[in-house]
């Protein structure tokens, strides 16, 4: 099979417009937050406490999401270079350097101004560098830093000791928010917000689950990343919950008409790792020209493993938030990650696994080589491992990556014929 030139990726038109509107609105609100209006809390995506913090009137900034937006709009490098000029070395995470560089430069981005924090909430779930990053911001802005220490997941189910610890910390955090804002904690309001979260989560799961169909009506890596914003940033709002109904209606239409992201699905992939945001379209093109579609991916689960059975439970608000915090993908031990990827390959009928390791993130990446070895030698699943970075364009070598991917898909192609398959559920 000869590779074809990639076609323009087809997004879900209405959902994409809706998503853009929500993103624009979010950054507009941020630009006017702070000062006497709304206080601003900074938070990480993994295991975040957005429902609790918002219930106390905070606007929430996720510097990781600001970072990926900077990278995808090709403005991360000046921020990174500025951070390096301040002493942050080549081996420091690109997200950290983008954010600290951006803050030093005044916080202005093409999509809006990022306000300084009034509170730093370090949901320490799956990445030690979160602590270092927040310490640097705390020193710069002189604002309080709260650590929610999330134990590492080493067993499939949350353990009682871990949940008790987390719930106790959440109660202490709520007491601190009450003191800082002068507001009382409204448990009924939190329950209401969690109803919205649960509805959004179910919609998100339904979207991801459609990757089981053949051909897949979704692109579970490149396309899904676009639809992560509401589930991570706006979770708990009605509009986030409604958003996934719009997405899934369009997916149903794709199924009905047979118009899928890859017109002739040739290879079904599970993708592990963070995307190279600086070269997002180029990287995607390397898949599409071979008719390769990701049917499941681990990266869209960095905010939580909703697709593995967890949904927020309004009847048990704090316990449920504690369980959620444990479930960030990179907070899972390698045995759990390996098991998840094996299940994705099986449940989504994947032909191969593609692993994208990034220089910046040791939490995600350290051990991906061993994962490749396990997939190939223990499970017999064709696997390709490539490296670049998610934030720093200097580490994306397009010719080298393309060569490796071409060789990989060519070898997959030789293993089997090239007949597109009818739409069935895996």
């Amino acid at each position: 099979m000869e590779p074809t030139e990639g076609t323009e990726p087809k997004f879900l038109a209405t959902a994409r417009d809706e998503q853009r509107r929500m993103v624009d609105e979010y950054y507009t609100n941020l630009a006017t937050a702070g000062g006497p209006k709304k206080p601003v809390a900074y938070m990480f995506v993994g295991g975040n406490l957005t429902e609790i913090v918002r219930s106390f009137g905070y606007e929430v900034v996720f510097p990781e999401i600001v970072g990926l937006n900077c990278a995808i709009k090709h403005v991360s490098l000046p921020n990174i270079l500025h951070a390096e000029s301040q002493g942050y070395g080549l081996d420091v995470c690109g997200y950290v350097k983008n954010d600290l560089g951006l803050q030093e430069l005044g916080g202005q981005t093409p999509f809006g101004r990022v306000p300084p924090p009034d509170l730093l909430v370090c949901s320490f779930s799956g990445c030690y560098i979160y602590v270092k990053w927040w310490e640097a911001l705390a020193e710069k802005f002189g604002c309080p830093l709260v650590v929610l220490d999330v134990p590492y997941m080493r067993a499939k189910e949350p353990q009682a000791e871990d949940l008790q610890y987390l719930v106790a910390q959440l109660n202490e955090f709520i007491a601190l928010l009450e003191k800082r804002t002068g507001r009382s904690f409204d448990r009924a309001e939190l329950r209401r917000v969690l109803e919205n979260s649960r509805r959004a989560e179910q919609g998100w799961v339904d979207y991801l689950d459609s990757g089981r169909l053949r051909p897949s009506p979704i692109e579970a890596y490149f396309e899904a990343v676009f639809y992560m914003f509401p589930i991570n940033v706006l979770r708990g709002t009605e509009e986030a919950a409604d958003f996934y109904a719009t997405v899934n209606a369009e997916v149903a239409e794709r199924v009905r008409t047979g118009r899928c992201p890859v017109p002739e699905e040739k290879f079904r992939l599970v993708v592990e790792g963070v995307p190279p945001y600086t070269n997002y379209r180029t990287f995607w093109d390397f898949f599409r020209r071979w008719g390769a579609v990701s049917v499941a991916a681990t990266y869209p689960k960095v905010g939580g493993l909703f697709d593995r059975g967890f949904l927020h439970d309004p009847a048990r608000p704090l316990e449920s938030i504690a369980e959620y915090s444990l479930g960030a993908y990179v907070n899972q031990s390698w045995p759990l990650r390996r098991k998840l990827i094996e299940e994705y390959v099986r449940d989504f009928g994947a032909d191969a696994v593609l692993i994208h390791g990034i220089k910046s993130c040791r939490s995600f990446t350290a051990g991906q080589g061993d994962l490749r070895d396990w997939l190939i030698h223990d499970l017999g699943i064709p696997t390709l491992y490539i490296e670049s970075d998610h934030e720093d364009p200097r580490y994306f070598a397009p010719a080298q990556i393309k060569n490796r991917m071409d060789a990989f898909f060519e070898s997959l192609d030789q293993r089997r014929g090239s007949t597109p398959l009818p739409m069935v559920r895996s």
Partner: protein
Amino acid sequence: MGLFPVSLHGGGESVEISHADAALGSFLCSISKSTLELALTSRLAPFRAFVFPYVCDVSRNVEGIFSRVLPGAETYMLHLPQNFHSAATVPFLTAEYRRLIARLEKAGGEPYDPERLAASIELFNQQRAAIADLTATKRNEPGKLTLTESYLVRRLGGLLPREIHIPLLHRVRSELAQRPNRTKDAIRTLLVGPFCEQPTLDLIDLMEQVGCYIVDDELLQIHRWYDRVDPGGDPLTNLASAYVQSPVDIGVRAAPTTKGEAILRRVGAAEAQGVIFLTAKFCEPALEDVVLYRKALEREKIPYLHLEFEERSTSYESARLQLETFVESILFD
């Protein structure tokens, strides 16, 4: 529980990395690779259990690889808490120790016995006290022993039975008492950064050769987490409390104060004239702290030098030149 604890600080200079690179990827520290290389080349066969304290994401992830490549051994990633203000931290860490114990019981074949743990704590208290005495000597009378000597004596503490190491430390102490404090025109220097991966002996030696007295350092932090742990009552709770209350303020522990305050306090306590940051290549926690430390030192006009190292460094010409310039810049200031 019938187990003998050994501190494993990577494979050092002599281990050739031929398998671990492929398992770990390109942008990771040497200590993770050489440690894994030992496992992949069957050089850890005598060990029945491996405990990986959560000091960074790499150490955490390496445990997951060990669990696959050494299926016959017990492995455990010990979650060391980062919330030092919560009332729930000590109970959590106590419970975490109990989970670890369950794994160690399997590996050692003997049940947990609180009385034996209390006795062990007392033994380790003696070891920590003797090591604190050694480091105090280096701080107060830096001409009495070199950093290399101090380092090697401490390093033995993670390899020998404590019953042998403690008398050895006492013997060192009495011999040092007889040794003259030969002072030279050297710079009192604080060494920051090598809290995990260890530099080569050549590099440790070099810093004092060129005219520094390393009067305090971050080498081998394992011996310094606690001053003294109460062996009475519930020893697990006491260990957990000691961890939470530890005064150690290094890159892999959420800062109890600002980093700037911390470095200035340590410089003051050591009466240091300058600081050497010696950070392992790819050690992100150390690299990020250096920026905050540097800002505080610059404010106070305290000289510093930043060097990077790897476990398997072999050439020191550049490091020598930088160190000599650092020393001269202070001596002739």
